[in-house]
């Protein structure tokens, strides 16, 4: 096994860069949501152990000679942990009241903006189809609903006939 000091140093530098980057992001998030009462997510809390582990395993791997396909397995494991770490960070961010509020507001705005446009488009399509003497979606939907109601009534009739038949067969002398 070769001496791992050199690569370790190199990876140590990378790790520092990553950490500084993550801390900068953390500061940015803290500033933007400083006014909010709920706790701010700390991405570095998830990120740091994963990064440390990744850096360590990579430093170890690069120091190994000869290189085996084990390297790829380790890379896959690192990738899995990296994705999992991001999943946790995102999950924590999306689990905040602020995110839920923001999403609700965006959806509301979208619906408020969409509703009048949708109404106008629906009306125009309806009129166009009527002019072309073609059935509209609402007419077809109406027919489908009637069919469902008819099916329901047949079911009820069938049920009551079956119940009456059962009672009759119970009364019949054996």
């Amino acid at each position: 096994m070769a001496d791992a000091a050199g690569p370790s140093q190199l990876f140590e530098q990378w790790r520092k860069q990553f950490e500084e980057g993550a801390q900068a992001w953390s500061r940015l998030i803290t500033q933007t949501s400083a006014a909010s009462p709920s706790p701010t997510p700390d991405p570095t809390a998830f990120w740091r152990p994963v990064l440390d582990q990744g850096v360590q395993s990579w430093a170890k791997l690069f120091a190994q000679t000869p290189v085996t396909p084990e390297l790829l397995t380790q890379w896959k494991q690192f990738l899995d942990q990296w994705i999992e770490a991001w999943s946790k960070v995102l999950g924590q961010a999306m689990g905040t009241e602020q995110f839920a509020k923001l999403m609700g507001q965006s959806l509301d705005q979208m619906l408020v903006a969409t509703a009048p446009a949708k109404k106008v488009v629906d009306q125009q399509i309806e009129q166009a189809l009527q002019a072309l003497n073609l059935p509209s979606r609402s007419q077809l939907t109406g027919i489908a609903k009637q069919l469902v109601e008819l099916e329901d009534r047949i079911d009820r009739l069938e049920d009551s006939i079956n119940a009456k038949l059962r009672r009759l067969s119970e009364r019949e002398p054996r």
Partner: protein
């Protein structure tokens, strides 16, 4: 010691790779190369000639239909006396996940264990179904389905098995229809206490989500919106799926399973508008089922009125129905015989896949078996 230069590291790495490699290492690299060739071949096949996976192969007969809903009976030796009515989720996805592939199917497992197995397929809804409500499912569809099961099986009792939202729906049915002879009730990953339901609970909360405006504007919940909601719940899911696909792409068996699961995972089903309104308001926002405040068809729904043996299965990593909200059924039912187990896996892997075949299916069949 002077710090090593990057070029030295690269040189040592490349030298180490090429020189003095033992025969075993060379063999390992040859195997890896072979795997990569197979990866490329399978990737080419996936892109140029995608094969439609054959899902839902367990033989079945349609015994009843009502509008879009179908009741299927599966072929089995029927060595167990009590039939099982399986109630999955309505909307969101198709139920063939429970009969994905031969050798990887919950339904096949249950039929092999001798259960007379019935599946309620709620169907794919269109705009004409926007008036369908949870209440109609509980008070009109489920009673009919249960009656058909009893009629066709020739028995006077049945077991009910609910999965995901099929569990609170069927629990509501069992609690409000004492005249229907339900012998056993199984809840698999079905949320009961919606105060503990996780991210969806937060997003759909009264303060954050105006369900009336949503349904009044859109009429229903389109499949694309259902998809967006679920993708948002786990944004890294697609990435990890693709990484795992690449990693296992050399494996033909994995690929077959992936194609089937991927087909299912991308086939979303819309929610009827009124169903969604009632589901969100009564269950997510007001938690009426757990609080005993739900009334359907004029009947109050009290979970304590479920007195048959109850088996509840939660999944440890379930972020759609976290185990604590599933487990809540145990504390609410009036049954003397009740059991809760928590198994490894998520909401889907609890019921489908290799893990399910090892952990979940045998547990469910072995609990139901002696009681059937």
């Amino acid at each position: 010691m002077a710090p090593e230069r990057f070029v030295d590291v690269v040189e040592r790495f490349t030298t180490g790779f090429a020189a003095d490699a033992p025969a075993e290492t060379i063999k390992q690299w040859q195997d890896e190369l072979e795997r990569n060739v197979r990866r490329m071949r399978n990737l080419h096949g996936l892109l140029t000639n995608p094969v439609e996976p054959k899902t839902g192969q367990t033989p079945r007969v349609e015994i009843y239909k009502r509008n879009k809903s179908r009741l299927y009976r599966y072929e089995s030796a029927r060595s167990r006396r009590t039939p099982v009515l399986f109630v999955p989720n309505l909307g969101i996805s198709r139920p063939y996940i429970f009969d994905l592939l031969p050798g990887g199917s919950f339904i096949e497992h249950m039929t092999k264990q001798g259960f007379d197995f019935y599946l309620l397929d709620w169907g794919v809804f269109g705009p004409e179904d926007n008036d369908l409500s949870v209440e109609e499912c509980v008070t009109k569809i489920l009673p009919r389905m249960a009656r058909r099961v009893l009629e066709t099986s020739g028995t006077d009792e049945l077991s009910m098995l609910g999965y995901c939202m099929g569990a609170p729906i069927s629990a509501s049915f069992v609690a409000s229809h004492p005249e229907v002879p339900v012998k056993n009730f199984v809840n698999m990953a079905g949320p009961i206490d919606f105060a503990k339901v996780g991210l969806f609970g937060l997003w759909l909360g009264k303060e954050n989500f105006n369900v009336d405006r949503f349904v009044d504007t859109l009429g229903s919940v389109p499949a694309d919106m259902v998809k967006a909601g679920f993708k948002l719940l786990k944004p890294t899911m697609d990435m990890s799926t693709n990484v795992n696909l690449w990693w296992n792409l050399w494996n033909d068996k994995y690929l077959e399973g992936f194609q089937a699961l991927n087909k299912w995972a991308n086939e979303y089903v819309a929610f009827p508008g009124e169903f969604f309104r009632q589901w969100v308001r009564d269950f997510y926002q007001d938690n009426k089922l757990y609080r005993d405040e739900l009334v359907m068809g004029g009947r109050p729904i009290r979970l304590e009125r479920i007195t048959c043996p109850v088996f509840v299965v939660g999944a440890k990593e379930d972020y759609i129905a976290p185990p604590e909200c599933v487990r809540a059924l145990i504390d609410k039912v009036g049954s003397r015989e009740k059991e809760y187990i928590e198994l490894p896996g998520g909401h889907i892997s609890l019921i489908a896949g290799r893990g399910a075949a090892v952990h979940c299916w045998p547990k469910v069949s072995s609990w139901l078996g002696p009681r059937s």
